[in-house]
Symmetry: C2
Subunit: 294 residues, 2 copies
């Protein structure tokens, strides 16, 4: 049995129209499947522009239930092309409670599972704490026909805890749909440091846990439509890395469907030479659940 899994990450730009965004996603899924991919990852909240640039109660109107139009469109595309799809929705759970939720569709269009974003950022231009109730499902991987997927979302990518918990639960791949960009007010050197840090920490999750990482970002300039917030410039640079953090494929900041072959057998061979899990000091980690060690 082959241990090679062909995967794709879809890096594209979103506009204000949901139907158009979902059409783009479906086209990209078709393209990825045509390249042999059996797993296709979309950027975070691929159905809309990134709406957290400012705070506006009206924008909760973008939220949809778990079985809403986004899931239906992605399920259709998954089934049409026989691929597993990782997408995202702004999930309306009840009035006054919405989540930033990743959904995983099986190759037959059924729902394999969901993950509700656990770590919620809040920064100028990224007002996520206003919109997103923190996830309540913990860090649980999702079983699919292409393996056990450790799906996390964006800000989670900065937390080694999240990656570790997914790996300890048997995740075979780490997957980070994301929406991250540069602050246009920063100088070029600072922008480069941030991009490099973003790439480095996710590669490090691969290394620490001996498993591949897929990071999928959006691209494009999105105007602030309030006049009071900030424009966003998403930096792309989606990538696929192996279990030593080695780059298998990497995009620049243009729209692209990035495809790579992952040798799933390498995870075990890497873990044999670097058996980090064997030596964890679980007797001495209890303070990781503390806010501060004062």
């Amino acid at each position: 049995m082959s241990t090679t899994l062909t995967v794709a990450v879809v890096q594209h730009a979103m506009g204000p129209d949901r139907e158009a965004n979902l059409g783009l996603a479906a086209d990209a899924i078709a393209s990825a499947a045509g390249s042999g991919a059996r797993l296709v990852v979309l950027p975070e909240l691929q159905s809309s522009e990134y709406f957290c640039k400012y705070q506006d109660p009206e924008l909760f109107g973008l939220a949809e239930p778990l079985d809403g139009p986004t899931r239906q469109a992605l399920a259709r595309a998954a089934q049409d092309h026989g691929v597993v799809v990782v997408g995202g929705i702004f999930e309306q759970r009840m009035p006054g409670m919405a989540h930033n939720t990743a959904i995983v569709l099986e190759a037959d269009g059924s729902l394999a599972g969901i993950y509700r974003k656990m770590h919620i950022p809040d920064d100028p231009g990224y007002n996520e704490k206003f919109y997103f109730t923190p996830g309540d499902l913990g860090f649980e991987p999702i079983d699919t026909s292409v393996g056990r997927l450790g799906v996390l979302v964006c800000w989670d990518q900065w937390y080694p805890e999240a990656a570790r918990l997914m790996a300890l639960a048997g995740a075979e791949l780490l997957i980070y749909p994301t929406a991250i960009g540069a602050d246009p007010q920063d100088d070029r050197e600072e922008q480069q440091r941030q991009l490099d840090a973003w790439r480095t920490i996710q590669r490090a999750h691969a290394i620490a846990n001996g498993l591949p990482v897929l990071a999928c970002n959006r691209v494009g300039h999105e105007p602030d439509r309030s006049g009071a917030g900030r424009d966003a410039l998403f930096w792309g640079h989606s990538f696929i890395a192996g279990p030593q953090g080695e780059m298998l494929a990497e995009a620049d900041s243009s729209a692209v469907v990035l495809v790579a072959d992952i040798d799933l057998a390498r995870s075990e061979s890497v873990r044999r030479i670097w058996p980090f899990f064997r030596d964890r000091r679980v007797d001495a980690y209890q303070d990781l659940t503390r806010r501060f060690r004062g």
Copy 2:
């Protein structure tokens, strides 16, 4: 008050003679102090060749008590040059119990504190579980006149848990004395992947925790003196990185005293734009103390 701290990491090769090794360390400390360094980091177990290439009960004869000749020599050098020194000893605690211990000497030669290596590796050519009793002091930073130091040792560098616990306890710098090299049987690409992974994961500890990282490795080819073990080829590449993981200084694989200026104020400014500590999901991390999430 200046927030700039000049630091040095000493990358050199060791031979079979302890006096000669300690002489080299003292010379390097003098050189670092002459360059303005106030903190000098030596490689792991700088008083000897790396003796864990094979298992030999006779080699416990290299161990010394906490106040043995290594500490005395390093304390003298620290005091002579008025610098804080991070060194290491093979610590004989009692017959049948030895630790791989980092010692921190104050600029007046007094002992600021010790750290006993918590994560102990065991691999072909690195038989550390034979020699080293796992540390029992936990992950506690050491207060010195140049700041609160998060001193960890070698294999610890692969564990995000260790770095996080040090940062939560207020560490201002992470410091990794180490002895790591390539397996000569590996091809060049594998050797390069390993080196890059080693660099990447330590840079990621800087990023995840918003603080600088100093990694200090030895260099040189050390023959296996048993005939039954493996030669070791230490890869050097010591480095000093800032709180976004950005490289401030980096060595190749030759002997060198690497010096850099660290702006300690940048840690806080980086943590203000990336306030990762604010958003940790301490309510959902309890399984980090489990061996496996079955």
